[in-house]
Structures are given as C-alpha cells and as structure tokens.
C-alpha cells in the first residue's frame, strides 16, 4: 500500500492542474511532495520559490509558503530567504529555460556562494511555455519551431558546469526512472549546501510531437534508450549518464563526523555474518533452510515472505542470489526488501580471495 499523505502538501482544490496531458511537470510535483512528506517537512519550516515558465506554476500548487519571482530570479530570491531565515528549508522549483538561460548568471554565482538551498530543475530541453523554441539545453540536431533543420549549437552542459567546483551536489534523473528519481530527491533535500537536481522531463505537446512521438510513454522509452543509470556517488557525469555527483569540501569538522559514522557501522557489522556469493547460494529454502537474498551488499532473511514460501523462486527472483539489479526492473520499490531482517553482509569477490 502506498502512503498517500503527500496529498496534504498539494492544493487539491486547484486541481486538475494547468499543464498539458502527459506533461512531466505533474510527476515532478508529485514526487517532490512525496520526498518532502517522507522527511517530515511541512508548511512550518519549508518555503518554495519558483521562476517563470510552465514549471513555475509548481509553487502555486504546493500547500506551502511560495514566492513566484521574475524571470530567472528564483535563485536570488531563494538565497535571500535563506540568508534572512536560516532555519527555513528553501527549495526552488523551476525549469531549464528559467535557470539555464535567462537565470544562467544567477545559477553560476549562487552555485559559487553555495547556500543551503535545493533546486529541482524540470529539464524538458525546450522553451515549453512559449511554443517550443530551441532552448539552452536542446540537444544538437533537434528539430524545434526555431530550428526546423536541426539545432546547430551545442547545448549547455549543466553536468559539467555544476560539478566544476569542490563542494557540489548535482544529480541527473528522469521522470521515467521513478525509484532513481525519488532517491535523488531525498539525497538532494538532505544535502547541506547548494544541491541541484536536473530532472529530464517530457514536453509531449510542443516537443515530442514534432520529434515523432505519439504519447508521453513513447518519450519515456526514448529517455530509457538515451540514458543509463550509474550507481554510487561519482565525481562527474557523462552526457548519457544518470546519477549523483557529490563532492565534499575538505573541512576538519566534516572529517570528524565521518569517523563517528564509520565507528557506528563497525559495531553494526560485528553482529552479522559475512557471506560470499557461493555460500549465499546454499540458502535457497530447500530442506527447511532459510531463504536469504543479497541486496546492495547486505544479506536479508526473507523466509517470512508469503511469495517465496515452499518454492525456490517467485516469478523471476531466485532465492540465494544477489538481487540488487533485479529491483530496477521490478514493479515494486526497494522498500519491500527493507521489511525483512538483515542477517549479514555480502563479501565481494576480491575480498574473498584475500
């Protein structure tokens, strides 16, 4: 069952919202509301700032204090709010045309000053509101209303610009990869400092139809072809990669905090077994043995799951294997795995050889 309490953060009396059928901004609005609700942020401690454009309407549908700023000035207003009231959580909901082109200068300098604000950029690679002109992030060769023979300028590479300096947080995701999208939102909201989430979104009415897509889902499939997810925290992203870039500044206080966390982890590990992949294979539920699966380096005991009872497998998941990859293609999220007790840690092959 899905937790639907995020609806309290949306002004449902203004629904249905104003965007076109199949527009990705609705998905951005919904998932940001879910992310805020999961962290317990509410109207008491959160402010939304939005710029101009289709995505600028997002602040109006949030049940939070909101500022709708002049074109491109969302980041300056957000930084001012954060400076005057450091206890507030400030989030910016805007688009690539607002942040990248007319607000490009503010983006660079807000990034340089590193205030603790979170930016969600709805990157639909076009100027959607004004009718589908080529924008700063339009890929080279794309047909738009102002470039009927294909855009012949290079796009603005936000993944290169916003990872150039040392303390930085940049995440790129799409509205199609929902689990990854939710992880990025959560990580960005928790990050202390300027965090930027670049959400590749679809504009089906003014961009997708010209490119030959009939429905929004066909554009989603196109995103799936163009991009692939890279795991872990990286120090840069290539142009076809989705992932999280996080660079910490070298400060002594932060180094102390890190050792504390490591100490806690070691205590946790002491009570757990270390299993290699070979040993994990034995725990497949046959002859009354418990059923173990590996997930993200940990081993979970899923014997209590009704779907695995009596059989070796449930549809496509095989017991006694590392199922980290499977969760991306599964219709459910990773929260299903976390219901079950963690009984051990997986030994990586290189460690086992030592």
């Amino acid at each position: 069952m899905i937790d639907r309490s995020y609806k309290k953060l949306l002004k449902l009396n203004r629904f249905p919202h104003t965007w076109c059928p199949g527009c990705g901004i609705g998905a951005v609005l919904k998932n940001v509301a879910i992310g805020l609700k999961e962290l317990g942020w509410n109207e008491q401690n959160t402010t939304v700032v939005s710029g101009i454009g289709c995505s600028g309407r997002m602040a109006g549908y949030m049940n939070l204090d909101a500022v709708h700023t002049p074109h491109g000035r969302a980041l300056t207003a957000a930084e001012a709010i954060k400076t005057v009231r450091p206890d507030l959580n400030v989030i910016v909901l805007s688009g690539d045309g607002d942040l990248g082109s007319i607000g490009g200068n503010h983006l660079l300098h807000t990034f340089r000053r590193n205030p603790d604000i979170t930016v969600f950029c709805n990157d639909n690679e076009i100027y959607g509101l004004t009718g589908g002109q080529a924008g700063p992030t339009t890929p080279e060769g794309t047909k738009t209303i102002t470039s009927p023979r294909g855009e012949h300028h290079q796009p603005l590479r936000l993944n290169r610009i916003l990872t150039a300096k040392s303390p930085c947080f940049y995440a790129r995701t799409t509205v199609y990869h929902v689990n990854h999208f939710k992880t990025c939102i959560r990580e960005a909201l928790l990050y202390k400092g300027f965090s930027f989430v670049d959400i590749i979104s679809d504009c089906i009415e003014l961009n997708g139809r010209r490119l030959g897509f009939k429905t929004a889902h066909q554009m989603f499939k196109w995103f799936d072809e163009r991009f692939h997810i890279v795991e872990g925290v990286r120090d840069h992203l290539e142009n076809d990669e989705l992932g999280i870039v996080k660079k910490e500044a070298e400060v002594e206080v932060k180094a102390e905090a890190k050792t504390e966390v490591e100490g806690k982890l070691e205590v946790l590990i002491e009570g757990l077994k270390l299993l290699t992949l070979e040993e994990l294979k034995h725990f497949d539920g046959t002859n009354g043995k418990p059923i173990y699966i590996g997930y993200k380096g940990n081993v979970y005991d899923i014997s209590a799951s009704p779907l695995f009872q009596g059989e070796k497998r449930m549809r496509c998941h095989i017991a006694g294997k590392d199922l980290t990859r499977d969760i991306e293609t599964a219709p459910h999220g990773e929260d299903l795995v976390y219901h079950f007790p963690m009984v051990g840690r997986l030994k990586v092959k290189a460690e086992a050889e030592k």
């Binding site: 899905i2 249905p16 199949g22 990705g24 889902h217 219709p331």
Partner: protein, 67 residues
C-alpha cells in the same frame, strides 16, 4: 460522482487528462482507453505502476480493506 471505481483502481474523471500513460505503463494490459474513459479489464496484479506514473494523481489502486 467523478471518482469512478473499477475492479482494482479508482479513476478520477475530472483530474484525468487522458494522457494514457497508465494504459501504456501497465505490464499486463489490464487498463484500456475506451470511449473517453479509462476502463479496467480483469487481470490486475496490483503493481501500482499506474498510480506511480500518473502525473495528475487521477488513478489510485484501492487498498485491500476497501475492496
């Protein structure tokens, strides 16, 4: 009367903009778009994909106890 219940899902007629993401994202083709309405055929596996992808909060999978 705009929250129309189906077998396993509730479809909100007013919020829905007929982008048919839910129909195309359904892994077992249990949803269909007929005569300007989303209809549900038997065979829903309750995977919640339609609800997770709907940008308009127009479709919800019913909770077990309400069925």
């Amino acid at each position: 009367m705009y929250m129309k219940p189906r077998l396993n899902v509730i479809w909100n007629e007013i919020y829905c903009k007929r982008c048919i993401i839910c129909v195309e994202v359904c892994p077992v083709q249990a949803l269909a778009f007929e005569r300007d309405e989303i209809v549900e055929r038997p065979g829903c596996i309750r995977c919640y994909q339609c609800e997770r992808y709907c940008p308009d909060i127009a479709i919800e999978v019913m909770d077990e106890e309400k069925r």
